[in-house]
Amino acid sequence: MQAKKRYILLTLLCVVLLYFYFARHGMKSKRLDTNYRNNLPSFATIEELSESPSRLKRNPNSKSKACRMETCFNFENCGNDPKVYVYPTDGPVSATYRKVLSVIRESRYATRDPLEACLFVPAVDTLDADPLSSEHIADVASRLSRLPHWKNGRNHLIFNLYAGTWPDYSEGSLGFDPGEAILARASVSEALFREGFDISLPLFHKEHPERGGTPPSATANPFPASRHHLLAFKGKRYVHGIGSETRNSLWHLHDGSNLVLVTTCRHGKSWKDLRDERCDEDNKEYDKFDYEQLLANSTFCLVARGRRLGSYRFLEALASGCVPVLLSNGWRLPFDERIDWRRAVIWADERLLLQVPELVRSVPPERVLALRQQTQLLWEQYFSSIEKIVFTTIEIILERITMHRTSRHREALIWNTAPGALGTLANYGDSRAHLPLGVCAPDPPVAPSSPPILLPAPSVPLIAPPVTPGNTFTALLYVQATSPALHKLLANIASSEFCEKVVLVWDSERAAPSLKSLSRMAGDLRDPLPVTVVDATTHYPGGGVSARWQPLWAIPTAAVFSLDGDAPLLAEELDFAFRVWQQFPERIVGYPARNHYWDESKGAWGYSSKWGGSYSMVLPGAALVHRAALALYAAAAPALRLAVRRADNCEDILLNCLVAHLTRRPPLKLAQRRRYKTAHHRYKSSWSDPEHFVQRQSCLNTFAAAWGYMPLVRSVLRLDPILFKDPVSTLRKKYRKMELVTS
């Protein structure tokens, strides 16, 4: 019994001890905690938190501080459509800067009148401020200050790629005082960057294409990424001086297969005098690897700083789908005001160089997949040509201006996903729901309704664009003459299930018909279909064929069914097309397909309406297009629109090129119909007129030249209704009449 008692006691003791051991902490702290906490005073009283200012007017006191848009930029001259003025060139300008100026001059931002300009770009070449460089232009400072609208640089935009010179490559030494000008510069560090004012540029080669540019090379997305090397670097090292430590110690990490980090000191005239004991060995390894091959075959690419913070290899790595691993402490990445680089690069730390292999090894494969896709996306959208880099710079500034006026700008996701900021208009809508994106977010839950507007707003509010994809479409007809075909089409539209409105663009010398609505078929209980007739000859005189897509103000839906007045489309075809388009709002979805091809003998692009096995265009004579794409069409580059106006033709080809350029996807052709013309058609000359054909061919080449590449993408598939021509009772089929249309 004694033993039993002893044991019981002992156990009890243990339990109590244990209890105290574990519970002491939690119990005590919890109880004391609340008491103790509640007895403490709050950090500030409500009076202190809501303190009123002692002075009436805030005093920005900008002179002593670095520039901000609020203090150094004059918004007054920037209306709803801010313009950029480029000074006329006088004096020496490098080839690169000439390209920069020319893309701005030919862009839709440009104006020839300095008085209506909001932003000024000097024709003084400021790209290279290194006096030792051959591209350096002297006497920049005085030439800038002599500019007629300079005013200490206010509202000016200055481009700079190289600042400072040997030996310290100081970032600050530009050779001139930018004053209140916005500096768009490469290799800028966090310390000197004027936040929200300056713009960080990528460093690009002299050979960087002016327009177009190489399309992304890594279109494959294998998972997991199975590239030959994990991490690669091939480049110069400097042995001595600023920025040399990082590259000098890279050889520690080199293992010849997985991690290829090879450097050479063989550059410059006197490398043999400056070389150190590793140079010979390094050079041997260096010659074993080919730079391009390395980039293409490596998952990660080291982007180590050179003398300056930025380097060419950043863009080179992006282009080849090699995820940049940054070794450049303090560098502000290109356009980081809007581009979210966390999606595309990995930051390493120069101070922790030896941890880099460990770092890249621990990136999970699904992250690598995302990073690599993003490199391609960004390269394609913002970096692959000088035009894109310059336009991105300008768009960022213009967006700040619109933000200041209307408190809206493109949201971050637009900048960092396809089709990107250059493919969306800043003033088209304020939500991604308005834009043609591949996928829409799920419907949000119902928000409390907003209060009824009691009084009208003081001025007419901007009307928000319709939501994508929406449940209905608007038929936008382009009519040059009435015909039986038109009446038949109108009747078909009236019996369509999803048509909400008809907009009839009347482009003829004869008086426009006065049509208010279309009556439905017998037995159709819906209200008559509203019609708006727009007389193009009075509304858009001289607009030519492009006028057909001008009256966007009359279109209340995101889906626009662009139709030629005599297109022989059935109601079923209209509805099926719309049902498909709802799944692909970013593409052109329709019936008449055409193709393009490279004509080896002429060395030019050819246009084909032959019925081959593939197509690259769907003509908007009978196709659905997103309203935002038509808005973009209206804002297309002036050269393109001019080509259409001159030819009074090709507007459909231009729209196809434009949408393909934005989406990188082919259009979608539906069902079997290929013809969309009956005997009557709008071209005075015959449809098979060779001249008409030649004209379209030359348009295609003009467009390809203007973009710098051929944007059209081919496809081999068409979309049919599920039971199309299947051996099953027609009673089961939803789209029965479509089957009878053979071509």
């Binding site: 033993a3 044991y7 002992l10 906490r37 709050s42 950090f43 500030a44 409500i46 938190l49 809501s50 805030r58 901000r68 966090e190 310390a191 960057f193 992304p216 494959a220 303090g330 966390r342 999606r343 990995i346 930051w347 120069e350 101070r351 922790l352 770092l359 997949l369 896709q373 391609q376 200041h404 006026r405 209307t406 396809a418 304020d430 996928v439 799920p442 409390p448 209060p451 009084l455 003081p458 928000a464 099926f576 498909v580 799944q583 019925w611 081959g612 096995g613 593939s614 197509y615 082919p666 993408v713 081999v716 068409r718 209704p721 599920i722 039971l723 199309f724 021509k725 299947d726 789209y735």
Partner: protein
């Protein structure tokens, strides 16, 4: 006899007692052993677990200590150096201090509490509740370390939250005297109210040297980008606001601040007098000190604060003496869309939280256009802003604890960039925006790599061989992978396999599971995989090649041949599986379908485990699960290729075939129902189209067809 009996029983009793004793003994010894063992275990666990390494050597900071050691601050003790204006993460932060101990997260040390007093005995600073909560959050977070030598960040335990409540001069001296100060390197200073009359500096007026400042109310000049952290100004009122919402909001815009600068107030009065859209509130004249009441400017109508905020769709937050206002937190908590009027303000946690998803910014010059701007905000954007508000508030701002944790996470992401979460994780609630599509690059996949056919087979060798012979005639086939799902039967020897010109590999599985067909085998080296049943021998090479070409155009979708539909059954109020001839499809069966390899990886590692278990337990529905998975992530429908054909060969009349079974069908309906419940919504999308070759059923054009052999039954 009785005695005998008695004796026997007593003997028995004795025996029983001794037996019991032994049992007791063993029981207690066992218990003791257990206790001792568990004690040892806890000690060992504590010592080796990452959270508090060597905690037994360093005492955790005691935040509730009552009798603090008094520390006199001498008038002539040295000051710490003034704030270094040009600090960046790269030149002021000592990264070598971080990551000691090998775990990839920052560690934070809190200085022991001390009672600092001036020479005349006055406290240097008041220890506030909020500061206590900050320290306590750090102490209980996974980042805390009691060991200053392995700390990546150090937090002085002097309350610096309110500029007005401490003496700058003395605290600067205290900071300089801290044991590990070293010019403020890797120190973290918390501050909420910065600056005081008349300048109202936007940064704490303290000699912080190169310490990181987590502070509220920075402007773009004082904020050191990538180094400092911008905090919200905590509002004790916001904490009390619950998440209920009225059905209808009564006011378009509410201005509830009592400290709007007078020139801006004049502009607002002008707007309010001409429009009913702006409800302009101020202090009530009769009770100036009552902060829970606000009165309408002109009529004097009384409103309760902060309850009134819930009644507004937009609420103004105007700069005043300070750039940041505590009303911002009240407004966020009330789910009223903030309109922020404060030039050059640095918003809280601006490095990670996208304020354009929560608020509208109006430049101070532009107040006159307030109504115009608000009216131009579309309904879609209003909805987006509105739904974002409370989510963001509850995640990052709802309490001092949340604010502190967000600060620590941002610092952690800075030091260990790989642990960083992407924009969507920070800013886009999955319940509103859905998951992120892992294949977002808009491309047509390249043709050259081809596809890998993955054949799941059990024992139908003959059919398998026929299939293999047919498959290899497809030009783009790169490789065949046979997943041998039969553990009892050896696959036939190599000599019996058909002789083919493409690589073929047999993988033997460990268990007969349907999910094996979706394992992301390393042997699948192409992006695209064709999963195919061993009895699908009716597809022609043209059809397969065309299917692959269609997949290339839609690389993020399932592209395949046999299709099915889900329909809502009103009678049973449940989803039904439909395999008849329909005009719509929402699923493509993986008996013959192309998909990207990443979906196999998703199926194996990211799909809800419950679904995978269900599939393996019921030996069914793996294809439905795959369709749900892809549709849920991409919000896109699958694509059916080419006309319908009989997928079960007419001559195979054997009844073992699973699909023939009526029970099988009802089970599949149950699957759809079950998966819908697991995902919380019907993920499948139905469409009315299929993909055919451009020249399908086209005759008489005289041009040879690209894919001639399509659509034969």
């Amino acid at each position: 006899m009785a005695a005998d009996l008695h004796l026997k029983s007593s003997k028995q009793a004795k025996y029983n007692i001794s037996y019991r004793k032994i049992v007791y003994h063993r029981f207690f010894v066992g218990l003791l052993l257990f206790i001792v063992l568990s004690l040892v275990f806890t000690v060992v666990f504590n010592a080796f677990s990452g959270s508090a390494p060597r905690s037994d050597f360093y005492e955790r900071v005691n935040l509730e200590a009552v009798n603090l050691p008094v520390q006199k601050v001498d008038g002539d003790s040295p000051f710490s150096a003034p704030r270094f204006v040009n600090c960046t993460y790269w030149n002021c932060f000592n990264v070598y201090k971080c990551g000691r101990g090998g775990h990839d997260k920052i560690s934070i040390y809190i200085y022991p509490l001390q009672d600092y007093r001036t020479e005349n005995g006055k406290a240097v600073s008041h220890f506030s509740r909020e500061f206590f909560e900050i320290l306590e959050t750090i102490k209980h977070s996974k980042y805390y370390t009691p060991n200053p030598d392995e700390a990546c960040l150090l937090v002085p335990s002097i309350d610096t939250l309110n500029q007005k409540a401490f003496s700058s001069q003395h605290i600067s001296q205290v900071l300089g005297s801290l044991k590990h100060w070293n010019n403020g390197e890797n120190h973290l200073i918390f501050n909420m109210v910065a600056g005081s009359e008349p300048n109202y500096n936007t940064v704490i007026d303290l000699n912080t040297s190169s310490a990181i400042i987590a502070g509220a109310g920075f402007d773009t000049w004082t904020f050191r980008y990538g180094f400092d952290i911008s905090l919200p100004l905590y509002s004790p009122l916001a904490y009390e606001i619950d998440n209920t919402q009225p059905k209808q909001k009564d006011y378009l815009i509410i201005s509830s601040q009592t400290n709007v600068p007078s020139d801006y107030l004049a502009e607002l009065q002008g707007i309010a007098s001409s429009s009913n859209d702006l409800l302009l509130l101020d202090r009530c004249k009769n009770d100036i000190n009552d902060y829970t009441k606000r009165c309408e400017y002109t009529t004097g109508k009384i409103f309760d604060y902060p309850e009134v905020l819930k009644n507004g769709l937009f609420c103004l937050v105007v700069r005043s003496a300070r750039l940041i206002q505590s009303v911002l937190m009240d407004v966020l908590a009330s789910q009223c869309i903030p309109i922020i009027i404060a030039d050059t303000i640095v918003m809280p946690f601006n490095s990670h939280i996208d304020w354009n998803r929560i608020a509208i910014f109006i430049p101070e010059d532009n107040i006159k256009n307030l109504l115009k701007i608000v009216h131009s905000v579309s309904n879609e954007r209003r909805g987006e802003l509105y739904w974002q508000l409370r989510w963001v508030y509850e995640r990052y701002f709802a309490s001092i604890e949340k604010i502190t944790m967000t600060t620590l996470e941002i610092l952690n992401e800075k030091v260990f960039p790989l642990s960083a979460r992407i924009y969507e994780d920070w800013n886009m609630p999955e319940h509103l925006y859905g998951p992120v599509n892992p294949l977002f690059l808009p491309v047509t996949a390249p043709k050259a790599p081809g596809f890998t056919a993955v054949i799941l087979t059990y024992d139908r060798v003959e059919s398998l061989f026929t299939l293999i012979r047919k498959l290899v005639r497809t030009p783009s086939l790169a490789k065949i992978l046979v997943v041998w799902n039969n553990q009892k039967l050896q696959p036939p020897p190599a000599s019996e396999w058909p002789v083919i010109n493409k690589p073929l590999k047999v993988i033997r599985t460990k268990a007969n599971k349907l999910s094996n067909r979706f394992f992301p085998y390393d042997d699948i080296e192409t992006e695209c995989q064709l999963t195919i049943d061993d009895d699908i021998i009716m597809l022609t090479p043209d059809e397969l090649e065309f299917g692959f070409d269609v997949w290339r155009e839609f690389p993020d979708r399932i592209v395949g041949f046999p299709s099915r539909l889900h329909v809502w059954d009103n009678v049973t109020s449940s989803w039904k599986y439909h395999s008849e001839w329909t005009n719509q499809i929402s699923m493509v069966l993986t008996g013959a379908a192309f998909h990207h390899k990443i979906w196999s990886w998703y199926y194996t590692y990211k799909m809800p485990a419950e679904i995978r278990r269900w599939v393996d337990d019921n030996f069914n529905c793996e294809d439905i699960a795959m369709n749900f998975l892809v549709a849920n992530v991409t919000r896109k429908a699958p694509i059916k290729v080419t006309p319908r054909k009989k997928f079960k060969c007419p001559e195979c009349t054997n009844t073992e075939m699973l699909s023939a079974d009526a029970k099988h069908m009802s089970q599949r309906s149950a699957c759809i129902d079950k998966f819908t419940k697991i995902y919380g919504h019907m993920a499948l999308k139905s469409v009315e189209f299929r993909a055919d070759p451009l020249q399908y059923r086209e005759t008489g054009s005289g041009i040879p067809h690209l894919y001639p052999d399509i659509g034969a039954l």
